[in-house]
């Protein structure tokens, strides 16, 4: 199959931005000689040098703290978390420095923290988490989630050019999936932040989703179509600020909405989306907005357990059928 994998799309975005703007640099663990844990930056240090591809000690706090300082000084750091789980170790400077500098001081902190999130690769409790909701209530941050190769490239380029701090969630389960290979649009492919994407149009039901879960949602929609049920699949893409308009428009059109994501349902970002939908589409809704996420447990290791944990096409299909029957 031709086109780029999701991982290659990320790599291309980084490379193009390094080429485009000398203010852009990469910082993280094992980026240089090793090329990054997933080999995304392989060969980059040879090409761009050690000052644009900075290897650090194992110091997520230090990496993000330094990225904040460099961003204040006008550079555009792109920091890698080897796994997004480790952003827990860099939490404070993100929520207290990066998020608040513009409001309290008028200075933007244009940095990107990116890395692989999510389950599906038997990573176990510390290499498979979806941690977007840590940050959802922190004003000043942007949260971006890319579910396809094209979006990964276009959104990452937009994130790097953004004037505000962006947490950019990639998905290791998608990195090398051959069926997600896509041709990139020609030229400077930038996907603006803050816009959801209707990945599939439909009339009868809406499912709002993001990240890895987009794919089982599409699969479920295909299965329902066989029975004549038409499902609209909205990929949120940016979680903060999120595209209420597209989502609410879809909700008003179909009158029945499911919000599906990979993180546990309780306290997940789906609550925000569901709450807002019913606030803004109450009169249009024929059923409660339903949520489908993982159970409230850490993500387990064994494939059979992980499979039971993650929302898959079968469970999404069942939830949609149930909603349809409401």
């Amino acid at each position: 199959m031709s086109g780029l994998t999701y991982l290659e799309a990320v790599r291309e975005a980084l490379r193009e931005e390094l080429e485009r703007d000398r203010r852009v640099f990469l910082i993280g663990e094992d980026l240089g000689a090793y090329g990054g844990a997933f080999k995304i930056t392989q060969g980059f240090q040879e090409r761009y040098g050690m000052h644009r591809v900075v290897d650090t000690p194992i110091s997520e706090l230090g990496i993000v703290g330094a990225a904040v300082g460099a961003a204040l000084m006008g550079l555009r750091p792109v920091a890698e978390m080897q796994f997004m789980d480790f952003v827990s170790c860099a939490f404070d400077p993100l929520v207290n420095w990066a998020a608040k500098c513009r409001y309290r001081w008028g200075k933007g902190v244009p940095l990107v923290v990116r890395g692989p999130a999510g389950g599906g690769t038997t990573g176990g409790p510390f290499h498979g988490q979806n941690v977007e909701s840590y940050f959802a209530n922190v004003a000043g941050l942007k949260l971006v989630s890319a579910a396809t190769a094209r979006d990964a490239k276009g959104l990452l380029k937009a994130a790097i050019r953004d004037e505000d701090p962006v947490l950019f969630f990639e998905y290791k389960a998608l990195y090398r999936r051959p069926d997600l290979r896509e041709e990139m649009p020609p030229g400077d492919h930038v996907v603006p932040l803050g816009l959801a994407d209707v990945k599939r149009e439909g009339r009868d039901l809406t499912v709002v989703t993001w990240g890895t879960t987009l794919h089982p949602c599409l699969e479920a929609a295909r299965r329902l179509e066989r029975d004549g049920v038409s499902v609209e699949v909205v990929d949120l893409r940016t979680l903060v600020p999120w595209d209420r308009e597209t989502v609410v428009t879809s909700a008003r059109k179909t009158a029945k909405v499911l919000v599906a994501h990979e993180a546990p349902t309780l306290g997940g970002f789906g609550g925000e989306v569901a709450a807002a939908i019913q606030e803004e589409a109450f009169e249009w809704l024929d059923a409660p907005v339903r949520r489908l996420g993982a159970p409230s447990t850490p993500i387990p290791f064994a494939p059979s357990l992980e499979q039971a944990f993650l929302p898959d096409a079968a469970r999404i299909e069942a939830a949609l059928r149930d909603l349809h029957a409401y």
Binding site: P57, I58, S88, C89, T297, L305
Partner: protein, 385 residues
Amino acid sequence: MTPPPEDRIGLYRFMLITRDVEERLGILAKQGKLKGGLYRCLGQEAIGVGSAYAMGENDVFGPGIRELGAFFVRGYAPRLVIMQYMAKGGGPTAGRETNVHFGELHPDGRGLISPISMLGSMVSVCTGVALAQRYRGLDAVTVAHTGDGAMSTGQFYEGFNLACVQRLPLVVIGSNNGWAYGTPTNRQFRARDLAARAAGYGCPVMQVDGNDVEAVWAATREAREICLRGQGPVFVEALTMRMVGHAAHDDAKYVSREMLEAWRARDPLALQRQRLLDEGVATQADLAAMEDEVQAMVLAEAEAALAAPEPDPATVIGGVYHGEPSPLAVAGYPWTHGEAAPDGWFRQDAATVESRVRAPFDDTGLWNPEVVPYAPVRAAVEDER
């Protein structure tokens, strides 16, 4: 300090088990029978084995990823490790956790802390374990492991600093194996070595040949005694080399052949074997017999692991909060928190413990203008020039 003869052989035997199990795991990985990554301690077996062997029965051990040997010393059957790597339902975490992320804790305070991935955090958690040992009046220490890379983390620093201020019975063993994943130590820290780095904590610091299992044993024993005298914590740097990639997927091309060759000549198993022969502790025949026996044992353990059941998908939930059914509770962990501490749970009265805690602060003067050395200290600057 040299261990008694049977222990010198025992140290070799546990290193052998460790290597054989890892080799077996390597084969199973190639056969696609393992889940997740395989993290080996090839070339570093002496550290996990030597330090665990030196511990008191009631001590607590906090392993890193490369202290597999300690699990065997602490009595775990190889099959448990293999089942864990295979994500078996019968494994020590019923398939919930990866690699060496398991352990045990007993009401009497003994234990082995199940590590998590976040590097450095084991040291701050073990600071709390050591605090609890003193609090409960146990005559025991905690031995926690860190890598050179993990030692760059704030969690290491804050935890170890707290242990130092509190003079807790904590031995931290830092394995300086030259690399953290693909990053060499000179991009991890600027001091000469981990010992120099640790000096700033103001606690006793030792350095030991991490490929010499008897030296690791002796250093851990000495560090342990310093801790029991109330002078802990102690930092022990063990110098060694990671002889394979970070994990099975890493071909470690970034390591030079010369570096590997030089260290290969110092293989910890070969060193100890030769020493046992040279010093007449064991004969060639003794060792050969032991090697056969271990190999057969590990093979049998692997067979048992292979036969074990997969986890039941229904066990994905449960056991997050107290009172929920859990596959782990069923697996027989005895440690629960009753409403009151059982008799004898506190081994010393509160006043004795209190006086131990107070001592380090009572004998340390507060900041005072008399002690200000007004001349700038420039030694380090001169060094640089």
